[in-house]
C-alpha cells in the first residue's frame, strides 16, 4: 500500500526520541533517588514518596495543566527560565522531556527501590567492611545484582513515555517535528477523519510496544539463571 511509503514517519521518530531521552535521564536521576529511599530513614520520607508517586494516580491533564501554568512565560518560573536561561518549555521538545521526567519518575524509582530493598542487607554491609564507599558499593555490588529490577524500570518508563497523551496535549502544542508525537498524531488524524493514517500510527505503536515487551521477557528469562 502507498500508505507506508507516503506516511509521515516523523511522529514515530519523535516519540521514540522522547522516550529514549527521557528514559536515559530517568535512569541517571532515578538510581540515586531509589537508593536514597531504600537506605535512608528520615522524617517526612512518606511525604516525599507520595509526591514521587503522584503521577501514578493523577490524571495526566492535571499534571499538564500545572505544567502549563508553571512553564508559561507569564508566570514566575517560566518567566525566570526565559529571562535568565533563555529556556522555553512550553510547546518545545525540551519541555516535553522535562514534563515526562516528572510524569514517568515513579515508574523508574519504584522498581529499583524495591529491588534494592529486596537484596540481603549483608551484601551492602560486607562491602562496607571491605572498605568500599557507598557509591562504589552501589555501582559495583548492588546495582549489578538487581538487573531485572533495572530492566523493569527502564521498560516501564519507556513504555509510559510512549503512551503519554493528556500531558502532551496540554503543553505540547502539536508542532510537527517538535511536539507532535505519535499518540497526538493518532488523535489528530482521527479528528481529520484520516483513519488510514491513524491506523498506521496505531499499528506501529502497537508493534513497537509488543516488540519491547517480548524482548524484555526473553532477556529476563535468560537472566534469572545468572
Amino acid at each position: 500500500m502507498h500508505l507506508w511509503m507516503d506516511l509521515d514517519w516523523q511522529p514515530i521518530w519523535l516519540t521514540l526520541r522522547l522516550a529514549l531521552v527521557t528514559t536515559t535521564l530517568l535512569l541517571l536521576i532515578g538510581i540515586p533517588i531509589a537508593s536514597w529511599l531504600a537506605y535512608t530513614r528520615f522524617r517526612g520520607k512518606s511525604i516525599l514518596e507520595a509526591i514521587i508517586s503522584l503521577p501514578l494516580v493523577l490524571p495526566p491533564s492535571v499534571l499538564g495543566f500545572y505544567f502549563l501554568l508553571t512553564f508559561s512565560p507569564a508566570h514566575a518560573v517560566g518567566q525566570w527560565l526565559a529571562m535568565y536561561l533563555d529556556v522555553h518549555l512550553l510547546f518545545t521538545f525540551q519541555g516535553l522531556v522535562v514534563a515526562s521526567l516528572f510524569y514517568s519518575l515513579p515508574f523508574m524509582v519504584h522498581p529499583i527501590q524495591a529491588g534494592l530493598e529486596n537484596l540481603s542487607p549483608s551484601l551492602r554491609e560486607a562491602a562496607y567492611t571491605l572498605g568500599k564507599s557507598r557509591s562504589e558499593t552501589l555501582w559495583r555490588v548492588l546495582l549489578p545484582n538487581i538487573k531485572p529490577a533495572l530492566l523493569t524500570g527502564i521498560v516501564l518508563s519507556f513504555a509510559h513515555t510512549i503512551g503519554e497523551f493528556g500531558l502532551v496535549l496540554m503543553i505540547g502544542g502539536n508542532l510537527p517535528g517538535q511536539t507532535r508525537v505519535a499518540s497526538i498524531a493518532i488523535y489528530d488524524e482521527v479528528e481529520l477523519l484520516r483513519y488510514d493514517t491513524a491506523h498506521a500510527y496505531a499499528l506501529l505503536l502497537l508493534a513497537i510496544s509488543f516488540g519491547i515487551l517480548l524482548a524484555v521477557y526473553s532477556i529476563n528469562k535468560r537472566w534469572v539463571t545468572f
Binding site: S120, Y128, T129, L130, P144, N145
Partner: protein, 270 residues
C-alpha cells in the same frame, strides 16, 4: 591492648577489654545482643552512648562525637549468610577486597583455604561450607587487625562446622587477628576460644578464661617411686623432683619403694 565500650541501642550495656591476638567466643540466647555488639564494633551500628578504642586508634567516642566509619576500621567481618556477591566469581569476590593486582595475591589467598580450583565459579554453585571459606578469606584479604564472625557456621552441618572451626583457628593464628566469634553453641566455642563471654539480655553474664579451654588432650606418662602409702593413696616421688599423690586401685599390692608408672590425661599447654 584494650577494646572498651559501653551501652548501645535497645538496651545493651557492656564493658569489655580484649587482648590483642586473642580469640574470644561470644555466646548467649537469641536476641541477647551479641550480634549487636559485633555490629557496633564493626561500625555498622552506632550506639547512643559508647566508646571503642583499638590500640591507639579511637573508633567511637559518643561524648566527643567521634565515629570512625566502618570503611576506615581495620576490621574484617564474616556474616551468617556469607554475603558473597552473586554477580562475581570467587576470585572476583576476593579481588574486590584486595583491589586489582598482578602479584597473584588473590590466588595465594584462595590456596590458603584450598579453593584455588573453584576460583572461577559463582557463589551460587558452591556449598555452604565452601562459601564460608571464601567469606573468611575475603574478610582476611586486607589483613584486618580485628576479625568478627557472626554465627558463621550455624547454617552448616556438624562435620563441615568442625572443619571450618579448625580452619578458622589456623587462619586466626596465621593472620594474628584479634578474633571475636559469635555462636549460640557454647560447647563449640569452648573448644577454640581463649576466653568465653556470655551475653544475656544485653549484659555480660560470665567470663571464663584459661585452662579449661583450648584443650587438646594429650596423655602424659610419669614413672616414679612410691614413697609412702596412706589409706588408698600413695605418695610418689618423681625422678625430676616433686611428688605426686595418686589414688591406688583397690586390688593393687604396692609397697613403698616399688616403681610405678602413671598415665595422666592433661591439657596440652600445662
Amino acid at each position: 591492648m584494650p577494646l572498651v565500650f559501653s551501652t548501645g541501642p535497645a538496651d545493651l550495656a557492656v564493658e569489655l577489654e580484649l587482648k590483642t591476638g586473642s580469640l574470644t567466643g561470644l555466646y548467649g540466647p537469641s536476641g541477647s545482643g551479641k550480634t549487636t555488639l559485633l555490629r557496633i564494633l564493626a561500625g555498622l551500628t552506632t550506639p547512643t552512648d559508647g566508646f571503642i578504642r583499638h590500640q591507639d586508634q579511637l573508633w567511637l567516642d559518643t561524648t566527643h562525637q567521634v565515629v570512625l566509619p566502618v570503611q576506615q576500621r581495620p576490621v574484617g567481618m564474616v556474616f551468617q549468610d556469607a554475603a558473597l556477591f552473586p554477580n562475581m566469581t570467587v576470585r572476583e569476590n576476593v579481588q574486590f577486597a584486595t583491589g586489582k593486582r598482578r602479584d597473584g595475591l588473590v590466588d595465594e589467598l584462595l590456596e590458603l583455604v584450598n579453593l584455588g580450583a573453584l576460583a572461577n565459579r559463582k557463589p551460587d554453585s558452591l556449598s555452604g561450607g565452601q562459601r564460608q571459606r571464601v567469606a573468611l578469606i575475603r574478610a582476611l584479604a586486607r589483613r584486618p587487625q580485628v576479625l568478627l564472625l557472626d554465627e558463621p557456621f550455624s547454617a552448616l552441618d556438624e562435620e563441615t562446622r568442625e572443619q571450618l572451626l579448625t580452619e578458622l583457628i589456623r587462619l586466626h593464628r596465621q593472620f594474628g587477628t584479634t578474633t571475636i566469634l559469635v555462636s549460640h553453641q557454647r560447647e563449640e566455642l569452648s573448644r577454640v576460644a581463649d576466653r568465653l563471654i556470655k551475653v544475656e539480655n544485653g549484659r555480660i553474664r560470665e567470663r571464663e578464661t584459661g585452662e579449661s579451654l583450648n584443650t587438646a588432650l594429650v596423655p602424659v606418662r610419669f614413672t616414679g617411686t612410691i614413697v609412702r602409702i596412706e589409706d588408698q593413696r600413695a605418695i610418689v616421688r618423681l625422678p625430676e623432683g616433686g611428688v605426686m599423690q595418686i589414688q591406688l586401685p583397690l586390688a593393687a599390692s604396692w609397697k613403698p619403694g616399688s616403681s610405678v608408672t602413671v598415665v595422666v590425661s592433661e591439657p596440652a599447654d600445662q
